[in-house]
Structures are given as C-alpha cells and as structure tokens.
C-alpha cells in the first residue's frame, strides 16, 4: 500500500486537533505540501479511468486502524475521516472518541475503507473519493457501529426487584399491541400483579389501526429488525394485510382457541386497563419517538444484536437506548398520504368484525377507526446528525456545540 502524502497526514492531524476543513480545501488553505501531487493535482497518481467501465482504479486507504493508534504511515478510511470532520463541526469530540472514530469498523454491507482522492493510489481496489461527496449511509455505517458499541457497553440499569405477588391475585394476560401491552405487563408485574393465574382473562390491547401499525413497526425496528418504514408499509399495502401484532381479531381467534372465547376481551382504549383489572395504579404509556430517533434505533438495533449476542438485544434497546431517544424532539412517524385510504379501509373492516360480537369489546369499538397518525418519514441526513450528536453525548470527554460554545 502506498504511503500517504504530507497532505493526508496533515489532514488527519488537523482533524485530530478539532479541524473542520474539508479534504478538498485542506491543501490550499493550510498551505500543506501535497508531496508528489504538486500543486494539488493528481499527476502521477492513478485515479482510474471510467473508460470501458474500468474497475481497476484506486485503492483502499490501506492501513490498519486497530489498536487505536493511527499515526503511522497510513491514513484511516475516507468515511471515518469525514465522520470525524463532521463531529468537529458539531462539537468537540474527546481524544478517546477521536481515536475510536478513526479506528472504527464499517459495519454492514457497502464499500470498504476508501482512499482520499488526490493521494497516490495503487492500481487496484475501490476508487478513492472526496470525503465530502460520500453518501450519508456510508457515514452512518461508521457512526451506528460506534453507537451500538456504546449501547452494549452501557448495559441496562438494574430494574427494581418486583414485589412479591399480592395475595389478591389479578388473573389476566395482556397482549394485543405489544408496544402498549409489554410496558403495562412489566409495570403490573413490578407491583405484584404478575400475569397468568387460573382462569385468567386475556385482554388484547389496541387503538386506532394506523397507530397500531406504527407501533408494530416501532417494536420491530427496536427489537427484531425491520425494513425502513415506507418500504415496510408498502409491502403490507401490496399484500393487503396487517401484521399479526396489529391484528386484534387474529390474536383473539388464537387465544379463543386456547382459553375459550369467553375469556378473551378486546380493549380499544388502553387508558381503561387499570380499571378493567381493578388495580389502583397508573400504567405507563409508551413514548412517542421522533421519526429520526426511531430510524436511528432501527439502524443500531441489528448491530446491538451482533455485538451483544442472542437474548440481550431487546433489553438493551428498550431499557438502554430507548429512554435516550425518547427525549429527542421531532415529528413522529406518520402514515404517508398514499396509504391513508388503505389504512382507513382496513380499520373499517376491523370495526365491522368487532361489532359482530364474537368477542367482548371493552371501550368504544369506533376507536379503531381513528384517523391514521400524521407525521413524517425519517430523513437520512437528520438521522446522521442525531447519531453524531448522541455519540458526542455518550462520551464524557466530548462536548456538543451548544455546550462547547457556552464554555
């Protein structure tokens, strides 16, 4: 692999020191010698050719990034360097975070470490780039990997020990929309009301279908891995089906087969649950996440699974990352206009089924007809900014811009 020029090593040092000058402007602005590439040109450098669709140009940056030390005779990849430059724009990353970024792996599919355009390149490998031109997903590969490491390293707070089950048992099961039901179940258990018990009644919690679709995707994005929201919705629309987690009637049939229809209730208003169960305590409502925060969680979640191993992802995501993301301001995910009509049609079908009387319904059945939630779809650029900001906030030695400015 070719040794980097003083321009490249100078840029790395500049970024390490908190610099924000883009690569293209660096040589001229800083007056750094560009070595063999006199005058900043790329003469004598194989930058490849587009003729004949050549694939022989360029090379990777060529250097190892392990061990945290990156001051040898090579430069980190363009992706890592550009992330560091943008972090410097957002705040002041601490020295440990700087080294982590420069040494970061590029997680997931995509190009390997890329070289800097204008640097001497070998004949083979992926062509070099101007880091400023890198598409956002390439930069997200660096940041989400680091964030997932943070999530795994931070772990989850130790939950308070649950109360012993009370003498007055409440015999219930809570299912339906898992985004609603799981936190309620956990809270009830913590207060001495574990689910189950002889002849328990199964309550299937729901709300308007549009929100339940958002809930189903939210849970998948956090815990199981999911396609991007617009794509996920498009697939459901094409197949004209609602997912099992948002399908109250399907769940009701499943439970009726096992415990009998007389012990299945559909609850269309989650606020009724404490009264229905006869417990004198408020039950938690799930947080409404900003669309960008949720998209960030979706991208980080599989990496948390990758780093933490089976059985840990849900706890780490729900109790580790989620509380942080819940505080992020922004518009929530909404049902885009092309699908609103379809959601309303499907909700009307659910409403008709509820009125048929096969199962007891607690709450107004018409609540499933509520208008699909308005909101936005995530934006990649905003997700990147949020991811970098979160990375800075995770590091005790780093400061975000607002804090740095105020200092």
């Amino acid at each position: 692999m070719s040794a980097p020029t003083p321009r490249a090593t100078g840029w790395v040092a500049h970024l390490r020191a908190g610099g924000t000058t883009p690569w293209a402007a660096f040589g001229a602005e800083a007056g750094v010698s560009t070595g063999s590439t006199s005058g900043g040109s790329t003469s004598g450098v194989s930058t490849g050719s587009t003729s004949g669709g050549s694939t022989s140009a360029g090379s990777t940056s060529g250097g190892s990034t392990s061990g945290g030390s990156t001051s040898g005779a090579w430069t980190p990849g363009a992706q890592q360097l550009e992330v560091l430059r943008r972090l410097n724009e957002l705040g002041r990353p601490g020295p440990a975070l700087v080294e982590r970024v420069l040494a970061a792996d590029l997680v997931g599919r995509g190009r390997g470490d890329l070289g800097l355009v204008g640097e001497p390149q070998r004949r083979f490998g992926t062509p070099p780039v101007d880091p400023a031109d890198l598409p956002t997903p390439e930069l997200l590969r660096v940041v989400t990997g680091l964030l997932a490491e943070d999530v795994v390293r931070a772990g989850t707070p130790t939950p308070p020990a649950p109360r012993r089950p009370r003498w007055r048992r409440v015999r219930y099961r809570l299912h339906g929309d898992p985004w609603l039901a799981v936190p309620m179940r956990e809270e009830l258990t913590r207060h001495g009301y574990p689910p189950g018990g002889g002849r328990a009644v199964t309550y299937l919690i729901g709300r308007d279908l549009g929100s339940m679709l958002v809930d189903a995707w939210t849970r998948r994005a956090l815990v199981d891995g999911a396609a991007p929201w617009p794509l996920w919705l498009k697939k459901l629309h094409r197949a004209d089906r609602i997912p099992p987690r948002a399908d109250l009637l399907r769940q009701a049939r499943w439970w009726a087969d096992r415990v009998g229809a007389d012990r299945v209730r559909i609850v269309t208003d989650p606020a009724l649950v404490p009264d229905i169960l006869g417990v004198d305590m408020p039950l938690p409502a799930p947080p409404v996440l900003a669309a960008d925060a949720l998209e960030l969680a979706r991208r980080v979640s599989p990496l948390v699974g990758l780093f933490a191993g089976p059985g840990h992802r849900e706890q780490l995501m729900r109790h580790g990352l989620l509380p942080r993301l819940a505080a992020v301001p922004g518009e929530p995910v909404g049902v885009p206009a092309p699908y609103r009509g379809w959601v309303e049609e499907r909700a009307a079908a659910v409403h008709r089924d509820l009125l048929r009387g096969d199962y007891a319904v607690l709450g107004d059945p018409a609540l499933v007809l509520g208008p699909p939630p308005a909101g936005v779809s995530p934006s990649e650029r905003s997700v990147l900014v949020l991811a970098m900001r979160t990375l800075l906030e995770n590091d005790p030695e780093s400061r975000t811009q607002s804090v740095a400015e105020g200092a």
Partner: protein, 413 residues
C-alpha cells in the same frame, strides 16, 4: 500453538463449500494427521467471519458473537497445522485482517500464517455471482448487474460486494496490509486456480489437497452441499419469483421453499437448458482487467497451484446466436421450468398434508388416551376438585397456595 495456519479467504464460487464440507466431515481424521479444522458445526467458520467483520446477516449474526475469538483460540492452542476457511473473509478490511492475523498468532515465534485464495476467471465468476445474488432474493436483471459492476465508484451494494470478494490483487493487498510490520511474505500467499471447463473432474480437488497438505489422507469426500448452478431459463424464472414474492415471503419460507426446494432441488436438475454465460461484448472489458490482475499476481511472485493463465477464461463464442440472454430467455423453456416447479411445490404440499393428517391422527390418539386416563377415579376426583376450586375466589386462593407450595412453574402461564 499452531505451527502453521492455513487461512483460506476466498474467493466465492471456487469450490469453497465443497472443501469446507470435506474438512468438516473429516475433522476427526484430520486431527489424527495433525491437522485441525476447528468446527463444532458446518458453518462455524462462516459465523467466525461474520463476527470478525461485524457483518449482519439476516439475524444469524447473533449466533456469531465471540465466534472468531473462540476459533482463533482453538487454533492457537493446537500444536500442528490449522485450517481456517471462509470465502467472505475475502472482503476483510486491513484493520479486520490485522485483528484476524494477530489473533491467529501471526508474527509470533513458531507460527507461520499462510494466506490461500482459490480463484477463478471472471468469465465464469460474473454469471455465477449474479445467479448467487438471484438465489438470495436479488431482483436486478443481468444487464443491470453488469452495468453496476462497471460503475466506476462501486457505490452500489452489488458492486461493492462483488469487487471486494473478487478483485484478487486488492484482496491480497488488504490482507498483507493487515499483516503490517510483521509482513506476510509473497511465498506465504498461495493461489489455487480453478481449472478450465473440460478439465478432469477431480483436478480442483487435487489442487486443494496440494495447497492444504491433504495428500495421502484417506478422506471421505461424500458431501452433497456443493453449490449448484441453474440454467438461463431457470434463473430468469427465479428472478420473476423474487420480483413477485420478495414482499410476501418471509425469510425462512424463502430459504426452505424457494432456494432449497425450487432452486437447489428442482431447477438445478434441469441441466439441458442453456447455461449462464458472460455476454460476448463484456469480454472486451473483462479481458484487459484480468490481464492486469495476472500481471500483478505474477509480479508479486505468489505461489500458484495451477496456472495463472487459467484466470484469462475462455472467450465467449464469436457467434452471438450461441449466447442465451437471461433477461430474454426462450419462454417455452421458462414455462417448462415453471411447470416443473409447480409440480415440485404440489408434491411438497402433498407431503405437508400427509404429515398434517398423521399429526391429527396422533392428536386423536392422545385424546383417546387422555379420555381413558380420565376414567381413573383418582384423576376424576382431582378434576372435580380443580373445577370446584376455580369457581370461587377462596377456592382460587387455595389453588394459588398449592401452586406456590409446588413451585411457580406449575402455575398457569
């Protein structure tokens, strides 16, 4: 500590699955001959590679946590020759290569790491990779696939992966860069070339034996997990299935029914249909590229088992009428393949139905047994007592006490 580590890092579509299966099948015998193939399951090295490269893979990666370190530890604990093999290791970055080499003991006294690549000409690799993509739900046409490969920046998912695992000088360069100051001398880099079409059937295996030091060991070669290839019409059909089914078929169903049942067990048996090939006009840009690779590999003086000339590949026929375009195949052949697929699926459904009927019979038998058990007076008494207790609150409290005394596992979920 392993004295010699043979690190096989690709490339895909060069008989790697066969080699790995033979090694896995014969791992006890190999150990008797002082060769370690550290694997408790056939995909152990795949999981280790996912772990090393932090590569999500449809959920499988969660099983991979720590897999590389465990594998490397086994290698380091072994006194002899160790084989590590997976083709996706071709995609490792220099940083990942450095971690891998260091963990295997590279640079430590008494340990010698050898990098092995099995390699095949692009004339065969390109159509084979497209087909592999199609078998993994890709919907890109062959023309689009080829266009993406020729795109200068390699920014797409297909191109970035393809060149990362196929561009031979770059793969070796990344691994040697990973070796860093410890150096990986050219004499420790070995290329096993896949023989051209028409060569003796076992020639590639002989080359593997030579490169991996397996000669003279009476290995059981009985494995059927080699990758199978599809014809033009069959690949077209599969792509049409992807176009229609990607939205609707869950990954486990796709793996079992589309890839295994349709592609591997049904469509691959149709060997008389035209085979996938490189379009004649593509040879014009493949040929100089390959020449530059050969020149570089020769200049570096790597050890070659086979011949670098074999990387040139056979030029496609000059007669364009002999080329069968997988984007516009003979529709009669496609219909034929579709009909066979339907038959295979119907037969499979028939097997499921028979299985379901058998299970219903078993359930009916169990119900009958349960009914007989209920005739037992003690059982009847218990049931009556349970019904009585569950009618009222105080009875349920008694039941709860009983459950607690027995342990919570007896309670209803």
């Amino acid at each position: 500590m392993a004295r010699r580590v043979l690190l096989h890092v690709g490339t895909p579509k060069t008989g790697t699955t066969y080699l790995q299966d033979v090694c896995f099948l014969n791992r006890d015998l190999l150990r008797e001959h002082g060769i370690l193939y550290p694997a408790e399951r056939f995909d152990a090295h795949f999981l280790a590679a996912l772990d090393l490269m932090r590569l999500p893979w449809g959920g499988l990666e969660e099983q991979a946590v720590g897999a590389w370190d465990r594998l490397a530890q086994e290698v380091r604990d072994f006194d002899g020759t160790a084989i590590v093999s997976h083709e996706i290791l071709a995609r490792a970055t220099p940083a990942q290569a450095r971690r891998a080499l260091a963990s295997l003991g590279h640079g430590e006294p008494g340990t010698e790491v050898h990098l092995i690549l099995s390699v095949r000409d692009l004339v065969r690799q390109i159509p084979a990779e497209w087909q592999e993509n199609i078998k993994h739900r890709t919907t890109a046409s062959y023309a689009d696939f080829l266009a993406e490969l020729r795109e200068y920046t390699r920014g797409g998912i297909i191109a970035s992966w393809f060149w990362a695992v196929q561009e031979l000088p770059d793969i070796i360069d990344r691994w040697r860069a990973g070796a860093g100051e410890q150096d990986l001398p050219a004499a420790h880099v070995h290329l096993v070339t896949v023989p051209p079409p028409g060569s003796p059937r076992d020639l590639l295996w002989q080359r593997f034996q030579q490169a991996f030091g397996l000669e003279g060991i009476d290995l059981d070669l009985g494995t059927d997990r080699a990758n199978v290839s599809l014809g033009v019409a069959e690949t077209y059909l599969l792509r049409q299935v992807n176009l229609r089914a990607n939205d609707q078929i869950e990954p486990p169903d796709y793996r079992e029914l589309v890839r295994e049942l349709l592609a591997h067990r049904t469509l691959s048996a149709r060997t008389s249909s035209p085979r996938l090939a490189l379009p004649p006009d593509a040879y014009g840009w493949i040929s100089p590229l390959t020449d530059s690779w050969i020149e570089e590999l020769r200049r570096e003086q790597y050890d070659v088992v086979g011949s670098l000339e074999e990387l040139t590949g056979a030029p496609p026929s000059a007669d364009p009428s002999t080329y069968s375009d997988p984007d516009a195949p003979d529709l009669a052949l496609v219909v034929d393949a579709a009909a066979e697929s339907i038959v295979a699926l119907v037969q499979d459904v028939g097997r499921w139905r028979a299985n379901e009927a058998r299970l219903h019979e078993e359930i009916a038998d169990l119900h009958r047994e349960l009914a007989r058990a209920r005739l037992n007076p003690v059982h009847r008494l218990k049931e009556r007592l349970y019904r009585m207790l569950t009618r009222g609150r105080s009875g349920q409290r008694v039941l709860d006490l009983y459950y607690r005394a027995r342990g919570s596992s007896s309670r209803l979920a």
